[in-house]
Amino acid sequence: MIGGMKTIAVIFGGRSTEHDVSIVTALASIIKPLELTKQYRVEPIYISKDGDWYWDQKLKNIDLYQSGEIEEFMRKAPKVHLLFDNGLTLVKSSQFAGRKQYKKIDVVFPAMHGTHGEDGELMGVLEMANVPYVGCGLAASAVAMDKVLSKQVTESAGIASTPWTWFYSSDLPRRHSEIMKEVEKLAYPIFVKPAHLGSSIGITRVESRDMLMNALEVAAHYDDKVIVEQGVANLIEVTLPIMGNEDPLPALLEQPMLHAEDFFDFETKYMQGGKKGGKKGGAEQGAQGYSKIPADIPKDLYDKAVKLGIDSYKAVGCSGIARIDMLIDGKSQQVMFNEINPLPGSLYSHNWKQAGVSGVDLVSRLVAYAEQRWQSRQKIATNFATNYLKQF
């Protein structure tokens, strides 16, 4: 080991539709800049689509995944064990018979998107291990990844959103006329979404009643909860990456550029990212295709959106980093909370750079936030001396 360097485990991949996106986030936007700081030793942990965990320096190489050699690697490589020793230690069997390789982890950097990772599950494991980790905690992650919960939480903090409703998928066959009635209180067009998934999968824009039931069924097919939202007129979509713990720091308000299609589907969001031709004036290509940074809206509206973003970040209890998506009615100038993403793809580093935070700077700060949060958590007394056992 190189003296004085901290060891950071970056966890990525996972049992999610955004498995591949997670690999890119981890390798390009986290591991690379972490290593460039020359202050951290990075241990990559890859979770396969089947949920197997692997730990190997080779996993830092993008070619491994692009060439498909990862299959071969997984057949041979030993899986990793996690050892909780009031902290986290990685364990795997090495080539020498019986010998085991150990690596104590100082900080964990989760790079997971979507289910089983970004939604708080992984954070629960890390909390149990009592190891500092980057990004939102268990509760904030779980709330953020559930669009119903995040709306309920922000709404109770007085943050506006477009009219919406929700139902349990299991209720759809049994009480479908009630649900239809409830949903039709909203004005068309409406958006029907599975409550959890991160990407656009299973989302339908519905213009009229005849397509509504099919859309509800599709969303219900993907998730146990379905959220239905009323479309916003004169829509300006904006998104704001934020980082920090007690004093959140916003990046620049970003305005994704909508295409001829009314709506992003999975392909335009992720698959075609790089094929959209040359850059147009002021446009920056991010994880979501092209966007304007900063958003091209009046100053007071801009400030309003930034404030609403920070309020939402605090209301949900985010720490480390998150990205808030907001909807603006360009005419009424109303800003509405839409959803919150606890681990934005590629950390939204393209935006942070425009805001004056380099990639190297960003990951260093996030690690510092993680340590700071962990330290302040240690101060909160959780152990009380009791004589309960003796009395028993």
């Binding site: 071969e72 339908t204 069924e217 599709v218 219900a220 097919h221």
Partner: protein, 251 residues
């Protein structure tokens, strides 16, 4: 677009606003993208519905092994769910053609017209070839058991590919494939009374023009067109020519 039919998520597109509806059925291991060109052209006159059959493209795979009857049934339910009561024409390529024959012959779907492009569904013709595949598969299993799993897969893929087996195109559907392979639809074809256009490629090895002749004899009101210089994917090799034949036939 997506829709849930019988708890299966089906990816489809429905475009155009013509009075008459055309439904496109792709072949084994293929997806609705295969009809991209036809779809784009036919939409000027018709409402065109094209779906990824369960297990292909972006549609969810069924949990159990399906046969043609299951596929015919899901297509029928899918159309019901979309409120399509009348199908003007059913267009099928390869296995989608066999499916179209089965669905029309058994009355599960009642189109006014049928277009069969390199339709399969004639199974006793290629006994010799099937025997060869079987033999290679069996000896292959013995000869390759010592190889690592991925190498074995690769080798088998190559072998099956070389003698024209589609089995590995959609590996998760191996049982379903075996079931459809066994299904001969000549009996169903003989029950078809609607006008039928048969298009085959001159150099098609998978479904040779002789299949067209067999169906031509079985289906009373049918026309057979054999397009020169093309193989199994007639509609992709000669898109304009195929389109012209279909448009004239449907007019």
């Amino acid at each position: 677009m997506q829709i849930v039919v019988d708890s299966l998520l089906i990816d489809y597109s429905k475009i155009g606003s013509g009075k008459n509806t055309i439904v496109l059925l792709h072949g084994w291991g293929d997806s609705r993208q295969t009809f991209e060109f036809l779809e784009k052209e036919l939409v000027n006159t018709y409402t065109v519905i094209s779906l990824d059959l369960p297990g292909f493209g972006k549609s969810q795979a069924p949990d159990t092994a399906w046969d043609l009857a299951d596929y015919a049934s899901i297509v029928s339910k899918f159309l019901q769910k979309l409120n399509i009561r009348e199908v003007y024409a059913l267009v099928g390529h390869s296995n989608g053609g066999a499916l179209a024959i089965f669905a029309s012959g058994t009355g599960v779907i009642n189109p006014d017209k049928l277009v069969l492009i390199a339709a399969s569904g004639i199974r006793n013709r290629q006994k010799g070839k099937r025997l060869a595949i079987k033999l290679v598969a069996k000896t292959g299993k013995v000869a390759t058991f010592w190889l690592p799993k991925n190498q074995k897969q690769k080798l088998r893929k190559r072998l099956h590919g070389s003698i024209g087996s589609d089995m590995f195109v959609a590996p998760h559907l191996q049982e379903t494939y075996k079931k459809t392979v066994r299904h001969d639809v000549q009996a169903e074809a003989s029950k078809i009374t609607k006008p039928t256009l048969l298009i085959y490629g001159e150099n098609d090895k998978a479904t040779p023009p002789i299949y067209g002749e067999i169906y031509h004899n079985l289906i009373h009101d049918s026309v057979l067109e054999i397009i020169g210089g093309t193989g199994h994917f007639v509609h992709k090799d000669k898109p304009a020519q195929t389109l012209k034949l279909i448009e004239d036939f449907l007019r």
